[in-house]
């Protein structure tokens, strides 16, 4: 299937617009699952059309988000997370990368928690990766409605803790040469995070221990 060429570079979209696209992709995915039991009651033609629309919505939102980071953004994000730089433009690039990684690590958990790139860009000044991790894991930047403080269930919190940990060790690890290799590395970070789940979850609110896990596991990624 060919997609039409977009009339503007995707990275030039205003941050809130990308958040809206992210919401669109998640909404379409969630709606498809929610409607699944009722789908059987619909006539075949209508069911197929509805499925097709939802799939296209999800794919479009996802594809537009996918195109919005460059390898250089990942290098900048790595510096921001490690506390090496913190200008506004760097934080925006970092938020874009974290949001991209968040969406790509979705297979870690079943939840549909979203991350807001807009809010994230305002919360990225921290002196260390461990403090940033601890600050973000309970922040309303991540949620079913980002920005709206709401308690999370244990399963959702575990998903946040592991996904966030995976993207942090990815950003702290030695950089891969290409964007494609970076995506592979991100998936390995996700797999490592799940494999080390017990150790990570036992340390999530202890800065020293989480700092040590971040250091050791990013070294071994």
């Amino acid at each position: 299937m060919r997609y039409p060429t977009l009339p503007f570079p995707l990275s030039s979209l205003r941050v809130p617009v990308r958040d809206a696209l992210r919401g669109l992709a998640t909404f379409a995915d969630a709606t498809e699952d929610t409607l699944q039991p009722a789908m059987d009651l619909l006539p075949e033609g209508l069911r197929t059309s509805l499925n097709s629309v939802l799939e296209r919505l999800e794919a479009s939102g996802q594809r537009w988000m996918d195109a919005s980071i460059a390898h250089m953004d990942i290098c900048v994000a790595s510096d921001v997370v490690a506390g090496r730089v913190s200008t506004g433009a760097d934080q925006e690039a970092c938020a874009r990368v974290i949001a991209f990684a968040w969406d790509h690590l979705r297979p870690i958990g079943q939840s549909r928690l979203m991350i807001s790139e807009t809010l994230l860009a305002t919360r990225l000044s921290s002196d260390s990766a461990a403090h940033l991790y601890i600050q973000l894991r309970t922040s309303s930047v991540i949620g079913t409605l980002p920005g709206v403080p709401a308690p999370r269930g244990a399963e959702d919190q575990e998903d946040v803790d592991l996904r966030l940990f995976a993207l942090m060790i990815w950003l702290l690890a030695a950089r891969a040469d290409t964007l494609e290799d970076e995506q592979k590395l991100l998936h390995l970070a996700g797999a490592m995070s799940v494999a080390m789940k017990t150790e990570i979850l036992a340390a999530v609110d202890q800065p020293d221990q989480i700092a040590e896990h971040l250091r050791a596991l990013s070294d071994h990624l």
Binding site: A191, M192, V194, L221
Partner: protein, 204 residues
Amino acid sequence: MSAPGPTVAEQPLRKAVQRMRWFVQAFEQQVNQTSAETGIAYDIDFALLADVFADWLKAFSAQKPQDDSDKPAYVGFAAGLMLRTLIKKNPVIITSLPEGADTSNPAYFWPEGYLYVAFCLNVRGLVLTTDYDGQQHISAALKDSRTWWSFKENVAEDPGLAIAFLDLFAGDEPEWSMPDLFRSGRMVELADKFYARKRLKPVD
């Protein structure tokens, strides 16, 4: 058994193998090579492979020796730990065997075990050669079907014995009693067998 060879640039191999990206790439390469050599088709479960690496890393770090003189011997032990973990987690499945495969050949008798042994021996040999000027002298036991019967049966009951069997295949003296425990000072016993040069390079 051909060796995998990707490394993270400008890093001693013994350090590179402690990185998940190297491990996964090298394992994939081993699967491709073994498949080409034997005609066996394998399928890798990457989530389980990640689990293998994480478990191995924990076991590896738990007994890592502080004394530099122990480090070359620890390469062999670490490779044994890897074999133990691969056998326990079994991250590959066989999707097809060549028609009429001779099951007295270890590669067809136990294809998963053969792949894991090939991988661990190759990594072990590569690290010894590259970082320690050492040599690995593969034993004739590697081709002996009776040894493979014993290997498969014994590790099914006690996966720790994989460490001793890998020593046996690598031409080293196996520790059949408590093979999961690394013994400090073992290098002195093995130096004559392992190394082309008597004097070891400094290690970090």
